[in-house]
Structure formats: C-alpha cells, structure tokens
Amino acid sequence: MAGITLQGVTKAYGSQSVLNDINLDIADGEFLTLVGPSGCGKSTTLRIIAGLETQSTGDVFIDGSIVNETRPSKRDLAMVFQSYALYPHLTVHQNLITPLKLRDLTALERVPLFGHLMPERGKKMSIISSEVQKVAEILKIEPLLDRKPGQLSGGQRQRVALGRAMVRNPAAFLMDEPLSNLDASLRVHMRAELSELHRELKATFIYVTHDQAEALTMSDRIAVMMDGDLLQLGPPDEVYEDPTDIRVAEFIGSPKMNILPAICDEKGSINCLGQKIKVALKDKTKQSLSIGIRPEHLVLQSGAKSSFSGLLTYKENLGSDVFLHLDIGLETQKVVIRTDPQDANSAKIGDKISFGASPNKYLVFDANGKRIDARGRGNS
C-alpha cells in the first residue's frame, strides 16, 4: 500500500510534446481515474508510473521514495492491460503463478527439472499455490484454472488479468482501459465489481479510461487530461458541477453540456442569443464569453418573457428521460434539454419550444475557455 506522487513530469518524443508538467499526488488507498479523449497522454502517464516508459523530465515517487531509475518489476506495482496481455500458451493457473515465480524463486530454482532439486523450492511453491488459490477464490475463477486464455470469454479473461495483478499483493494497481473490450452490460457490471474490489483490497488504484461515465461512477478523484495537460483534479461531483475549463465541462457529462455564445458589454450586462442574462461578473469589460448549461438544468417554459426558444429537431426517448434536441439558429451548436417523459409528451418535431434556466446554473467561460467567477441572481 502506497501513495504515488508525480512532480513536474513531462514527456516528449523528439519535438512532439505529449505531457506538459504533470503534478499529481495520489493518496494511499485512493481510486484515482485519469480520464480524457484518446491521445491526451493519460496512458503515457500511467506507463511512466509503471516504469514502462521514461519521463523526459520530472520525478515519480512511490511511497515517498524516488523511483525514476527503478525497474518496472521493482516498483511493486501491478498493471491490468486493455488487451489483458495474458500469456496465451499458459493455463490460467500458470498465468497466475508466473509473477510469483519470477519474484520468489531464484533463477536456479526456475530451471526446468533441475530446479526441482533445489531444497527451498517445494516450500516456496506451496506458499505460491496457496496465494493463487486465495485470489482465485476471491475472483471466482477456480473452475477456470486449467483452461487456456483462448478458451475464456472476455469477462473471464478480464478476471484472470485482475487475478494476475492481485497475486503479488502490489502497492498499487494500474489499469489501462481494462473494461473497454467488454460488452456494454458486462462493463457496467464490472464497474461495480471493481469498486467493490477496491474497497476490499484497500489498495491504491490508478485507472485510465476515455469513458467519463466510468470515471464518474468509480473514482474517489478524477484527473481530467487533455492535449498533454492535467486540466482539473477533484472528486467526481466537483468536476461535474464546477468545471474550471470549458474542455472539462464539455468532456464530462452525457449528454454534453450546452455551450452558448454570449457578449459582455462595458457595463457588465451579458447578452446571449438576444436575451439578457441575469449574471453578474466581477470584471466588467467588453468581452466575448461562452455560457455553459447542463441539459438537466434547462427547463421548458411556455411563453415566459426572458427565455430562449428553438425548433425541436429530434426527440431521444430513453424511457426514464427524454432528450429534446433543439435548433436555436446556431450552425454548430444544438441545445439538448433533459426532461421528464410527461413534459415532453406534447412536444412534436418542428414545434417551437421555449426554455430557460435558473441563473445560478449558468457557468461562464472567457474567450480562452477558462471559467470566470460569476453569480447568477435569483430565478429567471
């Protein structure tokens, strides 16, 4: 069990920079998720922690000691790969004992046939076997021990890969998109199982995913990465409700946050799509802004004065919710409203729909996409 710290880590391939100054402090026993679109550097970060790649500058600490020069195997970490990376020629049992044999047996004891003559080997192997048995029980893969990976389903391979990580009882688990090769329902099931496993093992988990739903559901904290930068680090609620960057706001949450263009004049009054918005800015200068509103914070209004309106182009019925897609006259942006099925019943494709939101739900971003501190006044 150990905490992991990254200090000023950068990575560049030639002149191509893939990680810019990553600082992370992961507490002992924490479930931290690195999330971002593909190519954002999250997997590279994980592999630098694992030691499979070397950072260009910066330091990695595990349990307080610097490990820049330490081999992957000596860092006491275990990794679960997206493709599971099980040894296909070995049975599940052999796959599980491989890391233990490599760690606990001497090179001499691993020699075929001859190794069996070494005095300590029998004792060590029986300890190893009981370790493997224990892990197999926890993961319920005992019936599979004699099969080869090729004979297992995706979910079973996933468990074996987890098992191979668990047998060593490592300081931390590194997981590189472990669920993305599973089908949708199994993925949701495994989310819950992984969270439960994390609670049981009380080990540090570092989890890489491009799926914001996985990040939100499992993590203690989320680190949102984009283009090699660590944009925001915080608990799921905070990242969802209080994004500091427009890219984070757009990436986290499904359906995507609505972003509307707005103008602020010298007096500080904000005009968005021809409507005045009751939001006060500290900095009253003339500037262009973006207003972000989550789909669930938009409410349907029938003919109220200060409300937006658009034409309904598509109704997405999920049973429990309905997403209304509205054309508000912007070329690139449609507005999505999340609403109850009863409220959406009467709306028909092509109808003009009025909607609004309470001003304290508006998130204001400046022209560079950074969040501006703004206070909404009362209800619309």
């Binding site: 030691g51 195997s73 990794m79 790969f81 990376a85 040894y87």
Partner: protein, 316 residues
C-alpha cells in the same frame, strides 16, 4: 440442384489441372519405379519391388540416405537458430535494420549455381581465400595461441588448427571428411536469410503488451522475456520455418552438382543428386523413380508432422 450436373463443370478445370500436373506424374513415377524402363526403349519389364530392395540394401544407397539425413540434420538446426538469432538482433535495432535485412537476404536471392562457382574459388586449397586466411593466422602468436589452445598450455599439435598449420589446410571439397560439411555450410549461408525473414514476420505479430506484462511481472532479463513471451509466441513460425528448411535441405542439388558431383567416395551423394544421376545421366528411370518416391515419402512425412503441430500444439 439435384438434377443439374453443372457443378461438375465448374470444378472440372481445377480437378483436371491438379490431376495432370500433380497426381499423374506421381502415378507415372510410382509405376516406373516398378520397371526397368530406360528412355528410348520401346518396351520394359516389370521388376516388382526390385528397385526398392536395391535402394534399401546396397551400400551406395545407404550412403545416399546418410548423406541426405546428415545434411538435413546439420543445416536445419543451424539455419533455424541463425535465422532466429539474426531476426531477434535485427528487430532490436533502431537504425540500420533494413541494411542488415538486405545483406542477410542477399544469398537467398542470388543464383546458387553462380554462388557455388564463387565458393569453389574461395575454397580452392591452394589459391582459395579461405585457406589463405587460415594460413595467415599460423604465424600470428595471438591467433595461433587462441585457436590451438596453447595459451592455456595445451599441445598445439593436438589441436585441429595447430596440426593444419604444421601440415596443410584441408581440401574442403575434395576430402570426404570435409565435403559434406562444406556443402552444408554453403547451404546454411544460403538459407538462413530466408528463415530470418520468416522470423521477422513472426516477431511483428507478438503483441507489445505481452512484453510489458512480462516487465511488470518481473521478467527483468531479456532471456526471461524471451522464454516467457517470444519463444512460445513464435510457435507457429517455428513449425513453418523448420518444415520449410527441412524440405529445402532435402532438396539440395545445385551445390552438389556444381561442386562435388556426389563425391568424394559418395560422401555428398544426396537424394536429389542421386535421382538426377540415376534417372538422367545413366538413364535408369526405374531406380531413379524409386528414389523419387522415397523422397516424396520423406517430404510427405515432414508435411504431416507440420500439419499435426499446426493443428494441435502451437495455436492458442
């Protein structure tokens, strides 16, 4: 469909070609192997299994089998090991691997007959560059000491190199102790580049994540990772490479024909050369066909072994 015979017409061309080009010659050879037919004769006599009995009883044919098997047993392991070794080294290079690939593959592309003539010059006992180089080491103390073992006190004349320095270096192609080994050496030189290319292709199909998993699991040395990942993952490639090399070595002919003509004293009398000598030179088609059928049986056995391994063992 039941009443229509049109499907026979669709498969007929393929069947016909296969029969004429592949199966018929084998049947003809098998038939001829039971006769004493010679080209030009108007008739022949049935001799039953006489030809086969000769094959398995006469000393010169025993030498033929032993030459072919020895050649295969030398060339296959060494050319496979060299192919794998060079493929591993080349795939670990960052720069220059294209150049090495081209160099090692060059003998495969070259005409072996032309290369054999070059080798004949190089191996000439008097003027050849091989013996020149060996001789030039005799008066260099360091080299002489190293190869004769005299640096640790062994008697230099007891060693191969010391004795050769004192007397003379071998007549590589004219001495029955060396001829087959020399032909095998040329075979290895010519063939391992092909195995290397096959192994390079095999290596690219090993998933990189497996190596990373091996790193994480504690396979710290390159040897451990080779044992845990590379060797088993190359299973299908091994089977293919070994089978192809065995069949190619059984087929060795051009170097023997160009350099030794089966001699000295039949030490390089390999099967395909025997086929050629009996069937073409001496116009004894019966015995030549019998050798061909035995040869086909060897190749068939090798192929069956390959099929067995491919189906059973090496695919995961």
């Amino acid at each position: 469909m039941q009443n229509s015979k049109v499907h026979y017409w669709f498969i007929a061309p393929a069947l016909l070609l296969m029969f004429i080009l592949l199966i018929l010659p084998v049947i003809v050879a098998a038939t001829l192997s039971m006769t004493d037919y010679s080209l030009g004769n108007s008739s022949f006599n049935w001799v039953g299994t006489d030809n086969y009995e000769k094959l398995f009883s006469r000393r010169s044919y025993a030498k033929m089998f032993s030459a072919s098997l020895t050649y295969v047993l030398i060339v296959v392991p060494i050319s496979v090991a060299l192919g794998l070794g060079s493929a591993l080294l080349i795939s670990s290079l960052r720069i220059g691997n294209e150049l090495y690939k081209a160099i090692f593959f060059l003998p495969v592309m070259a005409t072996l007959l032309a290369m054999a003539i070059v080798w004949e010059f190089a191996l000439n006992p008097i003027m050849g560059v091989v013996n020149d180089i060996l001789r030039s080491g005799c008066d260099k103390r360091l080299i002489y000491g190293f190869f004769t073992g005299s640096w640790y006190g062994a008697d230099p004349l007891q060693s191969w190199y010391g004795a050769a320095c004192a007397d003379r270096f071998p007549i590589w192609l004219g001495d029955k102790r060396y001829a087959l080994g020399t032909i095998a050496f040329i075979g290895i030189w010519q063939g391992f580049g092909f195995n290397m290319v096959l192994y390079l292709a095999g290596l690219t199909s090993v998933p990189r994540e497996l190596y990373q998993a091996a790193h994480m699991d504690g396979a710290d040395s390159a040897w451990e990772r080779f044992k845990l990942v590379t060797w088993p993952m190359l299973g299908p490639t091994h089977v293919f490479v070994i089978t192809i090399s065995s069949i190619r070595s059984f087929q060795v002919f051009d170097t023997v024909e160009a350099l030794t003509e089966g001699g000295p004293s039949k030490s390089t009398y390999v099967m395909v050369y025997a086929m050629f000598e009996k069937g073409v030179r001496q116009n004894l088609l019966g015995i030549g066909s019998a050798i061909t059928i035995v040869f086909l049986a060897f190749v068939l056995i090798l192929t069956l072994i390959q099929v067995y391994f491919v189906n059973r063992r090496v695919h995961y």
